[in-house]
Amino acid sequence: MSPLRRRLLFGVPLAVAAAGGAAMYTLLGRMRRGQYNPEAFPSPLLGKPVPVFSLPGTGGLPGFANTDLVNMATPVLVNWFSSWCAVCPQEAPQLAELAAKGVPIWGIDYEDTPAALAQFLSLYGTPYTRIGNDKSGLTAVNWGVYGVPETFLIDKTGIVRWHFAGALTDNLVQKQIEPLLERYA
């Protein structure tokens, strides 16, 4: 190896570190300006129609497909859940409250068995008017679901308007979901 090439090669670690440092500096700047929040889980579906899917029903309720989500009378909440999910029961009161107010909540049961689902629904109630069965988990991949529970707000024309990964809270329902339901009513 020529001495010059050897010198250049030994400068590579410095160049890599400098590039990394510049990138981190940019990110810190964006964090300060509020343009970057590592805690947020934005959905790539926001502002777009839901992906093509068709799920059979389960838990004694009908399933649904992407074609059912267009031309709706009101916006719909699509709630991903599963009986094995430890966090899902936490949002049962919020979902029940929304359902009592007449908000249609369509569930998608993620990688679950009918028996376990039946037990889950008997324990925590059924806020859903439809439940799709995503037994294989493939629809979840297309939706970009990080993990259950996860909730999407779909407007009357089938466009995803809002998304949250994690259990819903009273605060989220009052500050975010209810205003959006009114706006897209």
Partner: protein, 642 residues
Amino acid sequence: MIPELGHFALALAVALAVTQAVVGLIGPLLRDPRALAAAPLLAVSQFAAAACAFGALVWAGVVSDFTVKNIADFSSSKVPLFYRISGVWGNHDGSILLWCLILSLCGLAVAVAGGNLPASLRARVLGVLGLVSAGFLLFTLTVSNPFTRIWPPPQNGMGINPVLQDPGLAFHPPMLYIGYVGFSVAFAFAIAALLEGRVDAAFGRWVRPWALISWCFLTGGIALGSLWSYYTLGWGGYWFWDPVENASLLPWLTGTALLHCAIVVEKREALKAWTVLFAIATFSLSLTGTFLVRSGILNSVHSFAASPNQGLFILALLGITIGGSLLLFAIRAPVLAAAGIYAPLSRESALVLNNVFLGACTAVVFTGTLYPPLLNVFTGVQISVGAPFFNETVIPLSVPIILTMGAGPLLAWKRAALAPVLRRLALAGAAALLLLIAMTANTNLITALGLAGGAWVIVSALTDLATRAGITRVSPGAAFARLLKLPRAQVGAALGHLGFGVTVLGIAGMTLASQSVVVLSPGQSVKVGGYNWQLESITAAPGPDYTQHIATLHVDGLVLHPSRRFFSAQKVITSDAAIHTNGFVNLYAVFAGEPNGHAELRLDVHPLAPEIWLGGLIMALGGFFSLSDRRLRVGAPARRRS
């Protein structure tokens, strides 16, 4: 009063660290013997000042002095004494002070134990350590001061985060920090050697014990953190590829590579530039890990309240430390020439392969960890990289590491003959192959490969020891006597490899875990993973700052007590897993919830799970055993090698 003294001691430590840096780095240039002699004294005084500062904060925690904001925010008078002390480093400001204390402890260690080093080298090492210390102490003093007061003081503190109220987590951060920060010594040696313009066998001999002791603590710290998440988080997982976990794994990977290539520098005066680069990289990755955690740039379950301003300060420190050292490397390292030459099949080549694969592993984990923020820089898009990526990339890379690991120690230096090595590896190969065939029939290929890989490493490490003891040449009794007389460094290295093999077995075994979530009412039973689990009762019991519900489970004659704790101060519920182990299988029960008076339980059977941490323990103990070798001991004169 005491917190003010601590605050003052912290300011004094900054001043002493700056002086230590100036005297240590300028002294050797002036060839001033007074400056060379002053550097160790400054390091000792800096440690004394940092220890006073830390002691003052611990004191404030012990007496529950709620005028100190740090104590008011993270402790309360109801918290037991043990956690009032460990809580001091369970939060951002306190933990960075602990970080600084350990850094100054490293300076103290070099000052005290480095008597046999050339005076100018010792001054330079202490100068580099002083410079790093000065930066982080200044950070603590100015933007992350744990002694900030509040007035009026609250009646009681906010209380410690319940998840941190656990003995495992009291010891995990100090151990991890000793590991992280300990690599600063290897780093300082590398910088000092570049400044002196000399990297030789002596450098390898000096740097190795420091790297090894840090490596042992880092191994222990990572294992402890993993064990803690296994039994407290209640997911039954032991490694989540969380960015903060990755930040501790990265220096472990490069530190392991450093340990191996420093051997080559010591024995054969080759791989010098690699060794220097790995020494710089290991401490740089430790620093980067600290930065990533503090700045909040990465999304992680390890929630430290993040602040971009503090992030900017640390980024500047990183720029000076890492940028400066890599610049020095780029200027000085190209002239380092290898003295020893070796054949493609030799111990040296095996160690080069080790470096290449560990380096590749580091690159992959680094990429996966930093890909989400970096993608955001260039495209503004936000994504997350999870466990599937790491499993898909790290598992294939570990195959060549495991293969090399078995064969490497059996190869001779300079030039090895293939036939005798293959003969010695026959036993390990046969064991691995048998296990592979037997397990592929019963389980999936990945599990079978993992179990075979673990067996390969374990049997070849044992073969290595047996061969060195001369088991084929002398009687078993004589061989055992020879085994006890083997150099401890060799036994330690074999133990280190053996421990890794045991961990691999554990990881492979865990892929066969059976899991289920069930809802039972008292008296009901269920069959999970071949065991019959019966819920006997749910009882309530008070605790110091929580109330708890305990479930009593009977599992084939064993009794398990998983519990749920309600911390009223923080309105938090934690689940304590109940684990029964026989050394090879863990029964794992979590009391997840109480819907309508029933018990929601997570019941798992984890085969070979204990081996994951047993392997970590063996690795760390192997390292410590190796450290007790006379040839490696710091301060002991080097014996002539025969």
